[in-house]
């Protein structure tokens, strides 16, 4: 399958997000919550994409451990990075909604909120874990083990929350009959837009990392072995290979490899 260029994908992201937000404010009807329910079209897709991103990171981590290919480690790292950023947005938009609806920024006895916070904090510990290890190979391996373990925890956590008694947090798709058609359409467009945004930012960051890695190779080639590689921008470049043989992912990390 031909992968669209990053520019085309970014344009599609902007178009779909703009269409989604237009539907939110000019098409979707108000429900019993009133206008505040408009936050739902942003908050829920962000939460879905954030959690799905953590699972995707776990899948890339499995592929990294199986193949040893650093491109999968880089993808796992970037997936977690973007999902943590989306997680911040989930917590912020959720808190704003809670303040308006419940009069409180946070409620500690609601399983949905607390479980998401636990998952978020779990993934925040990924960074200190990763950078506490200096050896690149070991760093990538440990980070992959972490991503797999935590990635398996996400669906289990989600299931546990769905099985638990909801207290006050609304269940989006559990009420009989689900969402009305117009609301569902708006929600699906917003979900597609946010998912595309996540994908585009992942590709954007991978492309930047690839450019940074190529630059480091170029500098090594030009300056020779007499000068140690400066590792330009590689402090956060996971799996930046020191071996020439494994540097092939830098050619195009955004293209799926079989």
């Amino acid at each position: 399958m031909k992968v669209p260029s990053l520019r085309a994908q970014a344009a599609a992201t902007v178009a779909i997000l703009a269409a989604g937000f237009t539907l939110v404010f000019f098409y979707a009807p108000l429900d019993t919550e009133g206008f505040i329910q408009k936050i739902f079209y942003l908050h829920v897709p962000l939460a879905i994409c954030s959690l799905a991103g953590f699972v995707v990171a776990g899948i890339h981590a499995i592929r990294h451990l199986r193949s040893g290919d650093p491109v999968h480690d880089a993808r796992s790292y970037v997936s977690i990075h973007l999902s943590v950023i989306f997680g911040i947005a989930v917590l912020a938009t959720g808190s704003i909604w809670a303040r308006a609806q419940w009069g409180k920024w946070w409620v500690w006895d609601e399983p949905t909120l607390v479980s998401f916070l636990i998952v978020f904090l779990l993934y925040v510990t990924y960074y200190p874990l990763r950078y506490a290890i200096e050896d690149r190979e070991r760093q990538a391996r440990y980070a992959s083990v972490f991503a797999i373990t935590a990635g398996a925890f996400v669906p289990l956590n989600f299931l546990a929350v769905r099985l638990a008694d909801p207290l006050i947090h609304p269940r989006t798709f559990s009420s009989a009959g689900g969402l009305p058609g117009s609301m569902l359409l708006t929600f699906v467009v917003c979900l597609a837009g946010i998912a595309l945004l996540w994908l585009s930012l992942v590709r954007f960051e991978l492309t930047a990392k690839s450019a940074s890695a190529k630059l480091a190779r170029l500098r090594r080639a030009l300056e020779g072995e007499a000068h140690p590689p400066p590792l330009a921008g590689s402090r956060i470049a996971p799996g930046l290979p020191s071996r020439t043989a494994s540097a092939s992912w830098m050619n195009d990390p955004t293209t799926p490899r079989s």
């Binding site: 009133g34 505040i36 308006a100 630059l215 020779g224 921008g233």
Partner: protein, 61 residues
């Protein structure tokens, strides 16, 4: 729970969307700064390559 009036709810809805957009903008700005650094370093390497090509050898950079 009764629905909030539009003028009250509107502030919260606007805040949620502004937070989202701001977060994405901050991320893109950070990435843009990184790309700018890459571009600068690429320029330095191009200069170095030109020096080497003109027979000057590698000088300390």
């Amino acid at each position: 729970m009764p629905a909030l009036p539009l003028d009250e709810a509107g502030k919260y809805v606007a805040a949620a969307y502004v937070v989202f957009v701001a977060l994405i903008l901050v991320y893109v700005a950070i990435m843009a700064a990184k790309l700018e650094r890459i571009q600068r370093e690429l320029g330095e390497l191009a200069d170095l390559a030109e020096q080497k090509h003109s027979g000057g050898g590698v000088s300390d950079v």
